[in-house]
Amino acid sequence: MSVQTQIHTKPQAAARTAPAVPNKMVARDVKVFYGAKQALKGINVEIQENKVLALIGPSGCGKSTFLRCLNRMNDTIENCRVEGLIALDGEDIYGKGIDAVQLRARVGMVFQKPNPFPKSIYDNIAYGPRIHGMATGREELDEVVEKSLQRAGLWNEVKDRLREPGTGLSGGQQQRLCIARAIAVSPEVILMDEPCSALDPIATAHIEELIDELRENFTIVIVTHNMQQAARVSQKTAFFHLGDMVECDDTEEIFTNPRDERTQGYITGRYG
């Protein structure tokens, strides 16, 4: 398979990643254009399995754009063009054999603003498994709902009111509901686009704990504006600046010993 060889023959990639941890997703020279405007100028990133990759950088640097490339959410944006290669398990997700709908079931997404469906808590979680035919019968579906809510740490708070609307929960609960909804379809990768930016510190702490637990079963990519959050939840961090990926390394390395001047400037708060 040509994609596979291409990924493995990149000497840089081989040198910088520990060989023991396989790459779940790989981005090679990803360029994104909105009409004539170029938003990403050739991004190269490896996303390792069962690790949390944090994308940091000043506003408008292309973190969210890159995140949305990973499950082809940019397909829905008019005039958006993606070049380069993004592979999931060695397979080009923009290739002919991959269907965007199928891909989004494998690569789930949690958005900046909690966006539960205006339906019951139960239906919010059950919707994905239902449309993907993952549960046959009522009991199995109940089980999926319960398990998803438990993994999202929301079960104890909502188990007595599963029939009440999901929009009636607090902001933090809504966001955990959205995470539960995303994991209900058993994705392999979960993308989180500033999942805590609309939440208070306590709800944020909840979500951060949750991310750490979810890492065991899922590969997570998180966009965040909060440097402390990146330091707390991630193992790998990528710093974006003006559509470029400046550097990507172990989180500890980035925060203690950044190689690039711009990275240092950003994490020490000189700009951004």
């Binding site: 499950n71 959410m73 829905t76 008019e78 709908v101 199928q102 891909l103 989004r104 079931a105 494998r106 789930g108 997404m109 949690v110 958005f111 603003k113 966006n115 539960p116 469906f117 205006p118 919707y127 994905g128 449309i131 993907h132 929009t167 959205c178 909804r181 995303a182 209900a184 379809v185």
Partner: protein, 421 residues
């Protein structure tokens, strides 16, 4: 503490004056708004009062009580006119001359013999007996009883001569001429005789027409709106289509009538005056309204809902049918019902396809000749008889009743299905 600094700008007299000016402007604006509202409601009240005061009498109709002897031979000859006249003459034994009898004949509706015939057909056992029956009085008698023809005018300028008035007074005194609820208005089709005319034919015609309109324009309109809003690429072709749809909504309705005449009658050879064609034309007319309101409703669904559905792997169609469309439904329903209400009140396009016709029969199918409520009003308003004036107003009241009902339904449905997030 010493006050050393001079008063700031915000405490100065100059500023206080400006502040007063701002409040005055706000007060004047409110007064203007209230005045506009008062004027609008006054016009509405005048309109409704005028219609109701002219029309409420149409819900009553003068009826004559007769003791008819259903002679077997006369029934076999179907000479019901003679049976009725005999019974009427019996009430006035003193009138024996031909002129006097003719005056009496004119008291009864020309449709009275048919009423009696229908009664006999319904219950043949009454032949050979004497029965008390109520038949409609002539519309002029009815109008006189309602006080619409002044009795003080000189006889030569009156519709009813002295002899007739005397007979009416005598019957009223005896209780054989009374006002009763006008069931004919709600059960009959059109007629040249006001007392036999009803709007049921027009109501059925309107219902059939609206049914065709709804069955065509709602699915096509909603599907078009969903495609344009959710699936179509935004390029110059879809821009062109959008501009055209917006323009079509503003096209005078008579143009749609001409189009219907040329296409449905001229080219496809569909029957004239049929609710089918009326419905087709109305569907063309309502389609842009429904498309525009459905697009607005779809646009108002927050994009985060679409992202949420797409993000867990729903296909674009599932996203639309499971999430976007249900959330847009209240808006779509409102737009649809308002479009339907507009179609219900529309006359002009129907003029072109022959639905302005004198049709006595109640339509039974989509291809029967029919007319609709507003057209019926238009035709009655054209009739010179005094009795049709009040029936015109009554028909307007019924049409308004239907419109209020539909708009009320729109409000109810919007409230019922509206969801907050």
């Amino acid at each position: 503490m010493t006050v050393t600094a001079s008063k700031s700008h915000y405490q100065s007299e100059e500023f206080a004056r400006r502040l007063r000016g701002r409040y005055a402007a706000e007060r004047n604006f409110k007064i203007a708004g209230i005045a506009a509202l008062a004027l609008a409601s006054m016009m509405l009240v005048v309109l409704l009062t005028s219609i109701v005061s002219k029309g409420y009498t149409a819900f009553q109709q003068a009826q004559v009580r007769l003791e008819v002897t259903l002679d077997k031979a006369m029934v076999e000859e179907r000479n019901y006119t003679a049976i009725l006249r005999q019974a009427l003459y019996a009430q006035f034994p003193q009138i024996t001359d031909r002129t006097g009898k003719r005056t009496l004949n004119e008291l009864l509706s020309s449709g009275a013999p048919y009423e009696l015939e229908a009664l006999v057909k319904q219950n043949p056992a009454i032949v050979g007996t004497t029965q008390t029956v109520w038949v409609r009085a002539d519309d002029e008698v009815d109008q006189f009883v309602k006080g619409n023809f002044p009795r003080t005018a000189p006889e030569s300028e009156r519709r009813l001569n002295d002899a007739k008035i005397a007979a009416i007074d005598a019957m009223t005194a005896k209780g054989t001429l009374v006002q009763a609820f006008n069931t004919t208005l709600f059960s009959a089709g059109d007629s040249r005789e006001a007392e036999q005319a009803g709007i049921w034919g027009a109501i059925v015609g309107s219902m059939l027409t609206l049914m065709v309109t709804m069955l065509l324009s709602v699915p096509i309109g909603v599907a078009a709106a969903v495609y344009l809003e959710e699936f179509a690429p935004k390029n110059k072709w879809t821009d062109l289509i959008e501009v055209n749809i917006n323009n079509l909504a503003a096209v005078p309705s008579i143009i749609f009538g001409l189009l219907g005449l040329a296409v449905f009658l001229g080219f496809f050879g569909l029957p004239r005056s049929a609710p089918l064609v009326g419905g087709l034309v109305m569907a063309l007319m309502t389609l842009p309204v429904i498309i525009i309101s459905a697009r607005v409703a779809l646009k108002s669904v927050p994009p985060s809902i679409r992202e949420a559905a797409l993000g867990i792997g729903a296909s674009p169609l599932q996203t639309v049918t499971h999430h976007v469309l249900p959330l847009a439904m209240p808006g779509i329903l409102t737009g649809t019902i308002i479009g339907m209400a507009r179609a219900l009140g529309e006359t002009a396009p129907l003029l072109m396809i022959g639905m302005v016709a004198f049709i006595v029969d109640i339509p039974h199918g989509l291809t029967d000749s029919a007319t609709v409520l507003p057209v019926q009003i238009y035709m009655w308003a054209d009739s010179p008889e005094r009795a049709f004036t009040e029936r015109t107003s009554a028909a307007i009241m019924i049409l308004l009743g239907f419109l209020i009902l539909m708009n009320g339904l729109a409000v109810f449905l919007r409230k019922k299905f509206e969801r907050r997030w």
